[in-house]
């Protein structure tokens, strides 16, 4: 391949997104990352944009940069997400809206602009993030799980709409991963949650990277509109 693989990762400042950014950099890709705040680290071939994924103007600016600097985009990974565990009777509306904005609208916006750029090359791989909270219907995660449920539907319909352009769109639903999103959930609750999985353990960053590699491989062009849960629901 003449041109370097270009990868966009939202939520790249920490957690799964950060790990995947490093993962693709090790493989020699050019990586664009974004998150709400700037990052205090630098890497060769890594370009960071501080933005709100639900802000159309800011997202457009990011895509203008990719278009100008690279001219193409091969892979998009939408890992930006926020969570707030709370009984739904106690969920503030502002928090609920923020969760939907980041998890659903942010994913939608980045998918839309990615597909516009990928369509030109008639090639692209989009990965969205769902959660095991969707099939397990975990109490305390009503809005978070509902936003991820919406991401699954979005993924499946986008998959149909971008198929004519050689683009695939899939979602990964990890089991709980030890990231900041789990902050505030008691060890006891996490233990009970893991008990409900087929494989009763946390997902690791490596588990996710393995699936990302599979779904983003050029040979995976026939795999689209799928939601794959790690650990099995």
């Amino acid at each position: 391949m003449g041109k370097a693989e270009v990868v966009l990762i939202s939520g790249a400042s920490r957690g799964i997104g950060r790990f995947l950014a490093e993962h693709f950099l090790r493989k020699g890709s050019v990586v664009y990352g974004c998150s709400r705040s700037p990052v205090d680290w630098k890497r060769d071939r890594y370009f960071h944009h501080a933005l709100d994924v639900a802000n159309e103007r800011q997202v457009n600016r990011l895509f203008s940069s990719i278009r100008r600097q690279q001219g193409h985009l091969d892979i998009t990974i939408n890992s930006a997400a926020i969570a707030s565990m709370n009984h739904f009777l106690l969920m503030p509306i502002a928090t609920a809206k923020k969760i939907v904005d980041t998890n659903l609208i942010g994913t939608f916006l980045i998918c839309r602009e990615s597909a516009k750029l990928m369509k030109k090359a008639r090639y692209g791989r989009i990965i969205n993030f769902s959660s095991i909270a969707v099939p397990l219907k975990i109490e305390g995660e009503a809005v978070y799980a509902a936003s991820k449920s919406a991401v699954e539907t979005l993924t499946c319909i986008i998959a149909r709409e971008v198929a004519p352009y050689g683009i695939t769109c899939n979602a990964i639903g990890p089991a709980p991963v030890k990231t900041d999103l789990l902050r505030g959930i008691s060890a006891e609750k996490l233990g009970r949650l893991l008990e409900r999985l087929s494989i009763k353990k946390f997902s690791t960053f490596e588990d996710i990277a393995n699936l990302v590699d599979f779904l983003t491989a050029p040979a995976s062009g026939s795999i689209t509109g799928q939601v794959i849960y790690l650990g099995g629901p």
Partner: protein, 104 residues
């Protein structure tokens, strides 16, 4: 920037699209050419391609990033995507607004 220049860009983008989709090209593409709807030369997927191709061309030409299918466009009684003329006027307006926002 003039609406004439935008019309030219639209016509060129449309020509490229028609060739790539191998759809029947009308004898002449003019301001009055109907793009979409009754008697239009594009189907819905064709319109999607025209809009996204055009967004890219506008960015290249005028260095502004615009979203053509915005809320206003979709809610107008007379669709701005109906003819080359209506589309060029709409694009002109969006670029102007985007310039003003950039300065503001």
């Amino acid at each position: 920037m003039t609406t004439q220049k935008i019309e030219k860009i639209i016509i060129q983008t449309l020509r490229d699209l028609i060739d790539s989709l191998s759809i029947k090209r009308p004898n002449k593409l003019t301001k009055e050419t109907v793009l979409f709807g009754d008697g239009g030369i594009l189907d819905s997927m064709g319109l999607v391609s025209l809009i996204t191709d055009l967004e890219e061309k506008i960015e290249q030409e005028f260095n502004v990033s615009v979203i053509l299918a915005d809320d206003r466009a979709l809610s107008q009684k007379m669709s701005p995507f109906r003819t080359i003329r209506s589309l060029s006027h709409y694009v002109f307006k969006l670029i102007k607004e985007s310039d003003q926002d950039g300065k503001g």
